[in-house]
């Protein structure tokens, strides 16, 4: 080998930082469950955001590179992916998972390996409580989705306007949630805020996510004669919805139903979701912010379905990370954390700010009409129609014939 070839090779081998750095891309690891609707939306949306940022010249000339990993919704797989992302693929930040159990398992690793990490879809209050409890170690974690407690609040706020304060004059409810980390604080929130909204809680059912036959559950609920079923479901969705419709359970379902946030849910349930009311962070038909509808349209064009709820937040998270890198002047993890803490960014779901070190929900999304408050939609004739808050509502509640409500 002649010297002419040897020199560049040597330079490559030892690395020439001065040249490499200018073009060194900002690598964001994305860890999610690829075979779930709420999971695959995360890398899909992140790639869309990266393409847009790169098309506009990247961040200070550095391109965004998404490195995606499938965690099969397993905490062990997610931790391995995280280690690989940090040690081998040298990512500068991570966007991970819609499952609280997985997000909680990743928290210590984000601290140990000093990788700023945002979860776009997990909800458990534990995520931000732990950051608050051990700030020095866990400050690299950010909770990019509403905590379960705020989700419950959002549902109760809507219930007050739509169910008890309206002509429906509802008075009683049964809570039906799946047994998972995120529903613990959700149910606690429901138990406190539903009575305040005017709904007496008659029963509280936590079901196994493995349940396939919901007949006994609906039967038990019906015997309590509530006016509404308030739901907390995410890992289950299709089966309770279809069986609710097939068995013509005469009580409306209202609350959180994460799988129902994507357009595929209509086909997955053969239209049984007609009349189901659910809380969402954003939806393709409502301009919550100037970018909500354009993102949803671009996503639908590229992937053929509307984004699941986690898609909106994952898309925002890439911009939030890019913005933090720009303000931090690079990818130093501690500087990025400080920059992320100062985030004030209007994304697709609203105005994003994170709670600070001294708030009980450290690094969680701020909830409220000035920040992110979510909206409530109802499936009507194959589409989701916004019914709350009044400012964005494009329709009113309308239930299928078998549902008995006062009119």
């Amino acid at each position: 080998m002649s010297l002419r070839y040897l020199l560049p090779a040597l330079a490559l081998a030892v690395g020439v930082p001065a040249i490499a750095d200018a073009a060194d891309p900002i690598r964001i690891g994305v860890i999610a469950e690829n075979s779930a609707i709420s999971g695959i939306a995360i890398p899909n949306a992140a790639m869309l955001a990266a393409d847009e940022i790169n098309a506009h010249g990247g961040v200070d000339g550095r391109m965004i590179e998404i490195v995606a990993y499938d965690d099969h919704n397993s905490a062990a797989d997610a931790v391995r992916a995280f280690q690989r992302a940090a040690n081998q693929d040298k990512v500068h930040a991570v966007i991970a998972t819609y499952t609280s159990e997985v997000a909680l398992a990743l928290q210590p690793w984000a601290g140990r390996l000093k990788i700023p990490t945002i979860t776009p879809g997990a909800a458990s209050d534990e995520i931000s409580k732990r950051i608050h409890g051990d700030y020095e170690h866990l400050k690299y974690n950010f909770h990019g989705y509403l905590t379960s407690g705020f989700l419950a609040q959002s549902v109760c706020d809507a219930a007050k306007d739509l169910l008890t304060g309206s002509k429906l004059k509802m008075k009683t409810a049964v809570i039906m949630s799946e047994d998972a980390a995120w529903t613990g604080p959700l149910d606690a929130g429901y138990m406190t805020c539903l009575p305040k909204a005017g709904l007496t809680v008659l029963d509280h059912i936590r079901m196994s996510p493995d349940t396939t036959d919901f007949t006994p559950i609906f039967n038990g609920i019906e015997s309590k004669k509530p006016d509404v079923i308030v739901t907390g479901i995410s890992h289950v969705g299709v089966q309770p919805t279809v069986q609710w419709a097939n068995q013509q359970v005469p009580i409306p379902m209202f609350g959180i139903s994460s799988q129902a946030t994507s357009s595929t849910f209509w086909k997955d349930t053969n239209g049984a979701t007609e009349g189901v009311v659910l809380q969402v962070a954003a939806v393709d038909t409502v301009a919550s912010t100037p970018t909500t509808m354009s993102f949803a349209a671009a996503y639908t064009k590229k992937y053929g379905i509307t984004p699941a709820y986690s898609g909106y937040t994952a898309y925002d998270d890439v911009f939030i990370i890019a913005d933090a890198v720009r303000r931090a002047g690079g990818t130093d993890p501690d500087k990025m954390v400080s920059a992320l803490e100062a985030t004030d960014y209007v994304g697709t779901v609203g105005r994003v700010q994170f709670f600070g070190k001294d708030d009980p929900f450290t690094h969680a999304l701020k909830y409220g009409t000035d920040f992110v408050s979510g909206l409530v939609v109802q499936w009507q004739d194959g589409k989701v129609v916004a019914v709350w808050p009044p400012a964005v509502a494009t329709g009113t509640l309308r239930f299928p014939g078998f549902v008995k409500v006062a009119n």
């Binding site: 075979s35 079901m207 396939t212 038990g220 969705g237 086909k267």
Partner: protein
């Protein structure tokens, strides 16, 4: 009222369990194969029926699901089971364990393929007849009644085929004494093909009906195999009557538990019963050996 509800729901669920399990037990009785890809085959039938119902209607979709069940049964036999049975490299006494492992892996491949193409979300087949009917005060989906009727129709047809036709009697003979059958001039290969065809029809029907009644997701494949397997072990490996009896025992135990104790403890009493039966009567309730 609650008693009647349990009676009706338990009947439909048990009929479905029975249909899912008798194909499994027949296959073992006649050809000695424990098909651990069973859940995967049910899953494919249901998913095909769900996918195609939009284009060709609920009945077309159901028929396509049934055909998919038959196709998957033959694929399992021709691609996985027969090559192992014919292999000269595998010692004869190890073939059973190879078939077990082969069908187990094949089942996992099917499950992962379905998850890849249609996500892990559950899918529900559009019911052939929508709506509900009130039986003595119990609101019952017509689809649930139809499920029970179709299950028993399929089981009845299988019984007629086995007991009233020449080919069926050969099947029965093969389950008792395959060597004797070959001495009489029957070709075992053709009998195996026939039993896999019957198995495909039963599994395809069970898959489509299960998809319409409760819905299936790729993550259920293992559970479906396990549930058929435990019903068959409970009833006695290879015994069709035992499997039906066990299906009704399990179905009603589960339904009673779900209604009277808690839906989340649904499967536990049936599993305890299985442990007790295996301990006290290892050949199963109506097993022969």
């Amino acid at each position: 009222m609650l008693g009647l509800q349990i009676l009706i729901d338990g009947f439909a669920v048990s009929a479905l369990y029975g249909l899912g399990a008798i194909g499994f037990t027949l296959l073992f009785g006649v050809s000695g194969v424990l098909n651990l890809a069973h859940g995967g085959i049910l899953l494919v039938s249901a998913v095909v029926a769900w996918l195609l119902a939009d284009q060709i209607g609920a009945y077309g979709g159901a028929a396509a699901g049934l055909l998919a069940g038959i196709a998957m049964a033959f694929a399992t036999y021709l691609l996985v089971v027969r090559p192992i049975q014919r292999s000269r490299a595998i010692p004869h006494e190890e073939k059973e364990i190879f078939v077990l492992t082969g069908t187990l892996l094949w089942g996992i491949m099917i499950q992962e393929a379905v998850a890849y193409f249609t996500t892990t979300s559950p899918h529900t087949v559009r019911p052939l007849i929508a709506g509900v009917s009130v039986i003595a005060g119990v609101r019952t989906p017509i689809n649930e009644i139809l499920t029970a009727v179709l299950c028993w129709a399929a089981i009845g047809l299988m019984w007629l085929l086995i007991n009233r036709t020449r080919a069926g009697k050969a099947l029965l003979a093969a389950s008792i004494n395959p060597r004797g059958l070959t001495l009489l001039g029957f070709e075992l290969q053709r009998i195996y093909l026939l039993v896999w065809a019957i198995y495909g029809v039963l599994a395809g029907t069970a898959g489509v009906l299960l998809g319409a009644f409760l819905g299936v997701s790729s993550e259920n494949a293992g559970t479906l195999t396990a549930s058929a397997f435990s019903i068959v072990v409970l009833g006695g490996l290879g015994s069709v009557g035992g499997s039906l009896l066990a299906a009704y025992l399990v179905g009603y135990l589960e339904t009673i538990t779900a209604y009277l104790i808690s839906p989340s403890l649904r499967t536990i009493p049936a599993l305890l019963l299985l442990v007790i039966v295996v301990y006290l009567r290892p050949q199963g309730l109506l097993g022969r050996r």
